[in-house]
């Protein structure tokens, strides 16, 4: 289906949406509640087909490109959906999974990802490997029929809710750095996996620490090449940085539109500057989406999208704090709890997905070519 016809059909569908959409638009103060609501919506989007466009038929999709997904999430936000919640991981992990994952396994499992039935998590960081990801030590040793994984991951997003984890493990020598890392898919229900959710400062629990003790991974679960995990990680991070701005910006507009009337003349300049920031995210993000569609790697330019998104998210939430101080000092009812979660989360966006200082170094080194 052409993008324009897709957009028109989706608008019509959203003009009389199913109960699951209205449910997901409600104020839901717990992360788990929001995940459940989103799973309901994902199931309906899958059944109606809208959630399958933009993904290849071999993976259970209906074909089309990233533009279909870009239209989908922009429209959902515009019609009132307050956030992607854990389905942002679909846009972070799935493009790489579909492109580099084992085809038979992807064909079997990916439809359940799209329909919201199964959730995925991202196992990259470790206690001793944050910004320096190539220092990771979780090992995968070859055994009969596959691999045995031992080690610990931290900040593994969405693990509490996940069935599958895309894991980076050391398959080379301990000092092989980025050359000896392999990406593999681990079943979090397997014996030896222990997930310990981390309650964050904003009260949500989408992060976790995950311990792996002699966890068996079948041989057909590699993503990319053996010892080619660094390229897989870069593929994911580049996609996350370059296109995620587009997927997220609609939800920041949602916050502005939902709370615009709370301010007065004294907050107009701040609000206008948020709109200006979001226009930049939108334009840079769209360029990233189009580049992705055309198969042109963004390379280090993806970093602009990431930095601009962080700046916009923080200015939006600064404005929100100024027009609704309840989030800081008010009775924490459902609505205020959610605003507080969003505000506090905006203070950490400069850390996840590559710290802001690492992003700035990327620009300094690769684009400005500073010494």
């Amino acid at each position: 289906m052409e993008v324009a016809a897709f957009a028109d059909g989706l608008e019509a569908w959203l003009s009389d949406p199913p109960a699951s959409f209205r449910n997901a638009c409600e104020v839901i103060p717990t992360f788990g509640g929001r995940v459940a609501a989103m799973q309901g919506l994902m199931a309906d989007l899958f059944a109606a087909g809208w959630g399958r466009y933009g993904w290849p038929e071999a993976a259970g999709g209906l074909g089309g490109s990233i533009l279909h997904r870009a239209v989908l999430w922009e429209a959902l936000a515009r019609h009132g959906l307050p956030g992607m919640e854990l389905f942002e991981h679909l846009e972070v992990l799935a493009p790489t999974l579909v492109e580099l994952g084992p085809p038979a396994f992807v064909a079997e499992v990916f439809p359940r990802f799209l329909s919201g039935e199964e959730v995925w998590s991202q196992g990259f960081s470790e206690p001793g490997a944050g910004s320096d990801l190539a220092a990771l030590r979780t090992r995968a040793d070859a055994v009969e029929g596959g691999w045995v994984v031992n080690g610990r991951k931290i900040w593994t997003s969405w693990s509490k809710y996940a069935t599958w984890c895309l894991l980076l493990a050391r398959t080379g020598t301990p000092d092989s750095r980025h050359r000896g890392i392999t990406a593999m898919i681990v079943d979090l229900r397997a014996p030896g996996v222990e997930v310990s959710p981390i309650v964050q400062a904003n009260g949500t629990d989408e992060l976790a620490e995950v311990a792996f003790t002699d966890v068996f991974v079948p041989a057909d679960r590699l993503v990319g090449e053996l010892d080619g995990g660094w390229a897989v990680a870069m593929h994911i991070l580049s996609s996350e940085r370059g296109t995620y701005g587009w997927f997220r910006h609609g939800f920041l507009y949602r916050q502005l539109l939902d709370h615009a009337t709370l301010g007065d003349e004294t907050t107009d300049v701040a609000l206008g500057n948020v709109l200006v920031d979001l226009a930049a995210v939108s334009a840079v993000g769209l360029a990233g989406v189009r580049s992705h569609e055309a198969g042109i790697p963004l390379g280090p330019r993806a970093t602009f999208a990431k930095l601009l998104l962080c700046a916009a998210e923080q200015s939006a939430m600064d404005w929100l704090h100024s027009v609704e101080p309840d989030l800081a000092v008010g009775v924490q009812d459902g609505e205020t709890t959610v605003l507080r979660q969003h505000y506090l989360f905006s203070r950490i966006v400069t850390v996840y997905g590559g710290s802001q200082q690492m992003q700035l170094e990327t620009i300094a080194k690769q684009l400005l070519r500073l010494p």
Partner: protein, 319 residues
């Protein structure tokens, strides 16, 4: 037209305005012909690229005033008519300013709510404005109360909106050109200037200042490109969004780079202040970044509708 093609045209325009600034550059680039073909996306991009080149090279021409006048008098001969800008002075109230060198015949002045006056250049009392940045500016002494319009207000509503759109996008392009050039200069400088026995560009504090400055520029580049591509399909407030961003970010880029240059960047002989002055002047015309941000915020607050967001940007921007 590809991105590479755009880069080539920008390089050609920059060379033309550097070698033969003003009217010869406009003639050499075929700018007046392209001004008559704004509906064509390639011609439109070329019309606006001139202003980016002028910002990069710190040159000037009658192009901005001519572009502002074009929607009112599309058939005027090249270089004969320019539109003045009505701006607010803190102490003096309404001030009429003509950007660029004088047109040969007429200056057009549009006052919202009153209408358009077309004034012979020879009849005007002009006062040159002396600010660095190679930007010719004249304030025009006029008794606005006794000035009668030649075109009534009701007949120029569409032309006025179009003129403001074109002028804001053109000034955004100039701001972009000046900002990206001052960042380039700073990048060269920190690679050469040594302290503590090594280039100051090896220190993260300096590197990150310039990485932010480059990001400021990338944001402007993307939004201005969207404005040029959307053109008449842009939402009503998109020109304000574009220029608010360009003015704000170009000023930021000048401030961040000044910190990298250190004391020498604050001397009369150093080029920084000429780019900075050009940026400050550009930000002050057709709405400062603060004024525009305030009006955008007020519009969203009072109507619940964002005046500057293309709702279906994905479908309306050509690939």
């Amino acid at each position: 037209m590809t991105a590479d093609h755009d880069d080539e045209f920008l390089a050609a325009a920059s060379e033309a305005v550097r070698r033969t600034p003003g009217a010869p550059a406009l003639a050499a680039l075929g700018w007046w012909e392209m001004l008559g073909a704004l509906d064509d996306p390639d011609a439109r991009r070329a019309v606006f690229v001139l202003f980016r080149a002028q910002g990069r090279e710190l040159t000037d021409s009658t192009a901005l005033a001519a572009l502002l006048a074009h929607p009112y008098l599309p058939d005027a001969a090249p270089g004969t008519v320019g539109a003045a800008i009505l701006r607010r002075s803190g102490r003096r109230g309404a001030v009429v300013v003509l950007p660029g060198p004088l047109p040969s015949e007429h200056v057009l002045l549009d006052r919202p709510g009153i209408g358009v006056s077309v004034l012979p250049v020879g009849d005007l009392t002009l006062r040159p404005v002396a600010v660095p940045g190679a930007l010719a500016l004249h304030e025009i002494d006029l008794d606005l109360d006794s000035l009668t319009p030649d075109l009534p207000d009701t007949t120029v509503v569409e032309a006025r909106a179009r003129s403001v759109f074109l002028g804001r996008v053109a000034l955004s392009m100039e701001l972009l050109g000046a900002a990206e050039t001052v960042v380039d200069l700073a990048v060269q400088y920190v690679g050469a200037r040594e302290q503590f026995g090594k280039p100051i560009g090896t220190f993260q504090a300096v590197r990150h200042l310039l990485a932010w400055a480059r990001t400021d520029v990338a944001a402007v580049e993307a939004v201005v490109a969207a404005a040029v591509a959307l053109d008449t399909g842009a939402p009503a407030g998109f020109d304000a969004v574009c220029k608010a961003l360009a003015g704000r970010n170009a000023r930021r880029a000048c401030e961040r780079t000044l910190q990298c240059f250190g004391g020498v960047g604050f001397t009369e002989e150093h080029p920084h202040h000429r780019f900075h002055s050009r940026v400050l002047a550009g930000d002050a015309l057709l709405g400062t970044s603060t004024e525009l941000a305030r009006s955008l915020g007020a519009a969203l607050r009072t109507t619940g509708e964002d005046p500057g967001i293309p709702r279906t940007l994905l479908r309306s921007v050509p690939s």
